[in-house]
C-alpha cells in the first residue's frame, strides 16, 4: 500500500538540507512505529520517494513524500502519530492513500507555486503590480546559468506559468518544477529585480513554496495543474 504525505517545513527547519530531511523522516517513521515496507537485500531501507527537493533557506507548505506500507490503520491515525514525533517547523498536513498504479511523487512533479516576501517591510518597488505585469509581458526572459562545466542561456518565460503580486505586497509565481525544466524562484526574481532596476539581496527576502503540482493534461492539451495530494 502506498501513501502520499504532504508536509510543511518552516522556521529554523528551513536550514535543514534535503538529504538530512530524508534522514529525519526515516528516523521519524521508526519513532512513530509506522509499518513501513523495507527493500530486500543485506541492508534493507525504507521504500520512500520525495517529490521535489527544497533548497536550504526556503520554507514550504507543499512538500511531499510517498512511502510504501505493509499495514496501516487509517490516514488520520498515521497523521496523528507522525505529528507526535515531529519537531517545531516540520508538520504533517495530510496523508492520502494512493492508487496502486500512481506514479511516484518525484516522477509526478510538474510545477510549484511560491510566495516571495521581504523579511522586513515591503519590496522597494514602486507599482509592483504593474512592473510584474510588464516583466511577464516580455517575449523572452533570458537567464544565464553558470554551472561548473558550462554556461547556459535559459529562457525562463516558457517555464513561468503565472506571476503576480498579492494584496499583501508579496510576489507569487507558478513555475516549472519538473526534473527536466525546473526553475528556481530566485532566478525569476533576480531577473525581475534587474528589470525593475532595484537591487534586493537574497537574504533580504524569504521564499516560500506553497504547493507542488502534477499535470493531468494529456499530450497536446493545455496544462491542468493539480496539487500532488489530490491525486488518488
Amino acid at each position: 500500500m502506498k501513501v502520499r504525505i504532504r508536509f510543511a517545513k518552516y522556521g529554523v527547519m528551513k536550514f535543514i538540507g534535503h538529504l538530512d530531511t530524508m534522514r529525519f523522516f526515516q528516523k521519524a517513521l521508526r519513532r512513530a512505529e509506522i509499518d513501513v515496507k523495507y527493500s530486500e537485500g543485506f541492508s534493507p531501507h525504507q521504500i520512500m520517494s520525495f517529490a521535489a527537493p527544497l533548497g536550504v533557506g526556503i520554507e514550504s507548505f507543499g512538500e511531499y513524500m510517498d512511502i510504501e506500507l505493509c499495514s496501516m490503520t487509517s490516514p488520520e491515525d498515521m497523521k496523528r502519530s507522525l505529528n507526535q514525533v515531529m519537531v517545531e517547523g516540520l508538520e504533517i498536513l495530510s496523508v492520502t492513500i494512493l492508487p496502486d498504479h500512481a506514479k511516484n511523487a518525484m516522477a509526478s512533479v510538474a510545477a510549484a507555486s511560491y510566495r516571495l516576501h521581504m523579511k522586513e517591510g515591503a519590496f522597494p518597488v514602486e507599482d509592483l503590480c504593474g512592473k510584474i505585469r510588464a516583466f511577464y509581458e516580455q517575449e523572452a526572459i533570458f537567464y544565464t546559468k553558470e554551472t561548473k562545466k558550462s554556461v547556459i542561456e535559459l529562457d525562463l518565460k516558457q517555464g513561468i506559468y503565472e506571476i503576480n503580486s498579492d494584496t499583501d505586497g508579496s510576489v507569487r509565481m507558478l513555475v516549472n518544477a519538473s526534473s527536466s525544466g525546473n526553475i528556481k524562484p530566485s532566478m525569476v526574481f533576480e531577473k525581475f529585480c534587474q528589470f525593475a532596476g532595484v537591487e534586493i539581496p537574497a537574504p533580504a527576502y524569504q521564499v516560500v513554496r506553497l504547493e507542488t503540482y502534477t499535470d493531468l493534461a494529456g499530450e497536446g492539451e493545455a496544462h491542468r495543474f493539480v496539487p500532488l495530494a489530490e491525486v488518488g
Partner: protein
C-alpha cells in the same frame, strides 16, 4: 519558536547551518523563568564530534531531569562561523535557548583529549568570558572542567574556576545546591568557590600553588586555606545500574560521527594494559544489569528512531552477560531493521559468529590491536593478546568470508628495539599468509586480502605505569616509522599490506600537554593567540606556531617529553587520587621493564587500590577477592 542567535544571512553563508540552530528531536526547552540554574554543557570541538559523545548525553539528560536546572549544549563553532562571530562580536550561545553562554550560571566543558585545549580558549573567548579564571568578575559563569584530561588539569588550571574529578553522576546536585544557597545568602563568587572546594571530587585550582625545585621538577604544593583537601579523590558511581541513563538522547539532523544509540554496558576494564590511561582511571570494573540494558535498548531505539545500536565499553568481550545481550539484540534488531555495531570485541569463534549475523561480511573489516610487534614487547605493555590468538582469529575470520583486517600498533613503547619494530611487518605478513592458507584459490574474492597496518606514537599518560617513561623525539618517531615501513616492504606479501602512520609533531605536543604542569598554560595561551585552534584536525594544526610559542615562553619541550623521571619524582597530578595507588603503578612500571605480565582483575587481584570504592569486580562473587 525561539529567535535564532545568528541571522539568516550568516546561516546561509556557513557550512552546515544545522550545527547552530538547535531544535533537534529530544533537545530540551524549558521556561527560563522557572529555572534557577542555567548550565551550558560544552564539548570543545565541532558539532558532529561533540554530538557523538555519550558522556554529554548522560549529563544533559540527568541535569534536565531536575526541574530547577536547564542544561543546554555548546560546541565549537567551525572556522567559518568563528571568523564571522569575531568580526561581528556575536557572543557564543547555547543551542537550546540561543542565548549567550556568558549569561548562564555555569559553563561545563568536557575535556576528552589534549588537542582540544586551544578550543577551550576559543569557546571562552567567543563567549566573551575572560580566558583566565582570575580575571572573571561576579557576573561571569563558573567555568567547570570534567573528563579524562582533568586527571592532569594543571596545564589548563588557569583557565578553569573548578574541575570536577571523576564520574559526573554524583556531585552535581550538591554543587548546585551550594550554588543556590550561596546566591540566596548574597555570597560572592569567591564564597562559592571556597565552599565548592570542600565538596568531594571538586578541585579549585586557584586555591593551590605549585612549587618548583631548581632543576625545574616539582617540590610540592601549597594551599591557600587549611580547610580544603590536600588530595582530591575521584568521584565514582558505585552502582552503575542505579544511576540515570539517557532514555531520550538528542537526535541530530546532520550526520554525526556516532549516529546511533549507544548502550554503555560497563565502566572500567579488567585488562590493565600498561600504556592505557582509561584502563586505570575508570577502575574498578562495574557491569550494568543485563535485563536493564535490554529495556534501555528497546526504549532508546523507539525514542530516537536510530537505525543502529552500538555497545560501549573499554572491552566488550569481558562483559559477563555479552552472549545473552547480543542474542536479545539480534532478535530485537532483526524485527526493527536495525543494525548492531560491535566495537572492541576480542576476535574468536563466538564473536565472529555474532559479527557474521549482524554485519555484511564482505564490506566490513576486522580490527586487531596487538599494539606491539613482538611477544616480548607485548609482555612489557601487558597486552594479553598472543600471536597465536591473532593468527587463529584471523584464520577463522578469513574462513568466514572476511578479507579485510586492520592492525593497530604503537611505536616508541618503553624498551622497544629494532627487532620489535620489524616484528610489525612480520606479523602483518603472517596474517596475509594465513589468508592464502585458509582460503582456497577458487574461493578468494578478487583473489586478494587487504591488511591495513597502522602505527601511532606512544605517549606516556598520567596514572599509568608508564607515567615515568621517557617519550621519543620527533626524529626518533619518524625513524621508527621508516623502519616499520622498510620491515613491511621486505615481506613476501607486502603487496597485500598497506601501512599508515600517525603524525609525529602532534604526538610530541600531546606528550607535553599530557604530562605538563602549570607552566604550560602560558604556552597554550600564546599558541591560541597566534591562531592555533582545532589542533586535532591535521589541516588546522600549525606546529610552527606551537614551536614559536614554546620558544617565546622559554619552555623546554624535552623537559616534559624525553626526560626520564625518577621513581620518587613528584608529578603535577599527584594531588589527585583516581583510586589506583602510586605504589601499584610503580610496581607495574618495574614489572614492565622485566617483561613480566600481570593477570587481569578477573584472574587475580593485583592490589591496585581501587577496591577502596567498595564496588564492582573487587567484590563480585566470581572475582578473585571474594
Amino acid at each position: 519558536m525561539n529567535q535564532l542567535a545568528l541571522s539568516d544571512e550568516i546561516l546561509m553563508q556557513v557550512e552546515k547551518p544545522a550545527r547552530y540552530i538547535g531544535n533537534e528531536v529530544n533537545s530540551v526547552i524549558k521556561d527560563k523563568a522557572k529555572t534557577a540554574v542555567r548550565f551550558a554543557m560544552c564539548f570543545p570541538d565541532v558539532y558532529e564530534i561533540g554530538m557523538s559523545h555519550l558522556g554529554i548525553q548522560i549529563l544533559y539528560s540527568m541535569l534536565n531531569e531536575w526541574e530547577d536546572v536547564w542544561c543546554e549544549r555548546v560546541y565549537s563553532p567551525w572556522v567559518d562561523l568563528d571568523a564571522i562571530m569575531r568580526r561581528e562580536s556575536i557572543p557564543l550561545f547555547g543551542l537550546e535557548s540561543q542565548e549567550p553562554v556568558r549569561d548562564m550560571d555555569f559553563l561545563g566543558i568536557t575535556i576528552q583529549y589534549e588537542m582540544c585545549y586551544t578550543n577551550i580558549l576559543q569557546v571562552l573567548e567567543l563567549s566573551q568570558i575572560p580566558l583566565l579564571s582570575e580575571d572573571r568578575g561576579e557576573d561571569m559563569p563558573i567555568v567547570i572542567g570534567g573528563g579524562p584530561c582533568t586527571y592532569n588539569p594543571e596545564p589548563i588550571a588557569a583557565f578553569f574556576d573548578l574541575f570536577y574529578i571523576g564520574e559526573g553522576e554524583t556531585q552535581y546536585r550538591p554543587l548546585f545546591d551550594w550554588y543556590l544557597e550561596n546566591r540566596s545568602q548574597g555570597g560572592t563568587r569567591q564564597d562559592f568557590l571556597r565552599g565548592a572546594a570542600k565538596i568531594p571530587g571538586i578541585y579549585v585550582p586557584q586555591f593551590y600553588e605549585e612549587l618548583y625545585n631548581e632543576d625545574g621538577t616539582i617540590r610540592g604544593r601549597r594551599k591557600r586555606y587549611d580547610d580544603i583537601p590536600d588530595v582530591i579523590l575521584k568521584e565514582i558511581a558505585t552502582d552503575v545500574t542505579a544511576i540515570p541513563y539517557p532514555m531520550k538522547p538528542v537526535v541530530p539532523f546532520i550526520k554525526v560521527t556516532q549516529d546511533r544509540v549507544t548502550l554503555e554496558i560497563q565502566r572500567g576494564c579488567i585488562r590493565g594494559c600498561r600504556f592505557c590511561q582509561a584502563g586505570q582511571l575508570y577502575r574498578p570494573v562495574r557491569e550494568r544489569d543485563v535485563d536493564q540494558l535490554k529495556e534501555y535498548a528497546v526504549e532508546m531505539l523507539k525514542n530516537t528512531g536510530h537505525e543502529e545500536i552500538s555497545l560501549s565499553s573499554l572491552s566488550s568481550s569481558d562483559y559477563s552477560r555479552l552472549d545473552e545481550l547480543l542474542d536479545f539484540l539480534i532478535a530485537e534488531c532483526g524485527q526493527r531493521h536495525t543494525n548492531i555495531s560491535l566495537p572492541s570485541l576480542r576476535i574468536d569463534s563466538v564473536s565472529l559468529d555474532v559479527m557474521g549475523k549482524v554485519q555484511d561480511v564482505k564490506k566490513s573489516s576486522l580490527t586487531f590491536a596487538p599494539e606491539a610487534g613482538s611477544q616480548r614487547l607485548r609482555d612489557v605493555i601487558n597486552k594479553g593478546l598472543t600471536e597465536d590468538d591473532i593468527l587463529r582469529g584471523a584464520t577463522l575470520a578469513f574462513q568466514g568470508g572476511w578479507t579485510r583486517v586492520k592492525l593497530y600498533f604503537m611505536l616508541g613503547l618503553p624498551t622497544e628495539t629494532e627487532e620489535d619494530i620489524l616484528g610489525i611487518g612480520d606479523l602483518s605478513n603472517k596474517i596475509a599468509a594465513a589468508f592464502f592458507e585458509a582460503v582456497p584459490k577458487d574461493k578468494r574474492v578478487n583473489g586478494k586480502v587487504q591488511i591495513v597496518t597502522s602505527t601511532s606514537f606512544f605517549i606516556p599518560k598520567p596514572f599509568t605505569p608508564f607515567q615515568w617513561a621517557p617519550m621519543c623525539t620527533k626524529e626518533e618517531f619518524l625513524d621508527k616509522a621508516h623502519l616499520t615501513k622498510q620491515g613491511i616492504m621486505s615481506q613476501l606479501n607486502q603487496k597485500s599490506i598497506k601501512y599508515n602512520w600517525h603524525e609525529a609533531d602532534v604526538s610530541v605536543l600531546e606528550g607535553v600537554l599530557a604530562r605538563g604542569d602549570r607552566r604550560i598554560a602560558k604556552v597554550i595561551k600564546k599558541a591560541y593567540e597566534k591562531g592555533c585552534m582545532f589542533d586535532s584536525w591535521s589541516e588546522y594544526f600549525h606546529n610552527d606556531l606551537w614551536l614559536d610559542s614554546f620558544k617565546e615562553c622559554g619552555v623546554d619541550i624535552g623537559f616534559y617529553t624525553t626526560r626520564e623521571r625518577a621513581d620518587d619524582e613528584i608529578f603535577p597530578w599527584d594531588f589527585l587520587d583516581c583510586g589506583v595507588t602510586r605504589e601499584f603503578l610503580l610496581r607495574e612500571w618495574k614489572k614492565a621493564r622485566e617483561g613480566t605480565v600481570s593477570p587481569n582483575c578477573k584472574a587475580q587481584c593485583q592490589g591496585c587500590g581501587a577496591n577502596r570504592f567498595g564496588c564492582g569486580i573487587c567484590y563480585d562473587k566470581d572475582g578473585a577477592r571474594g
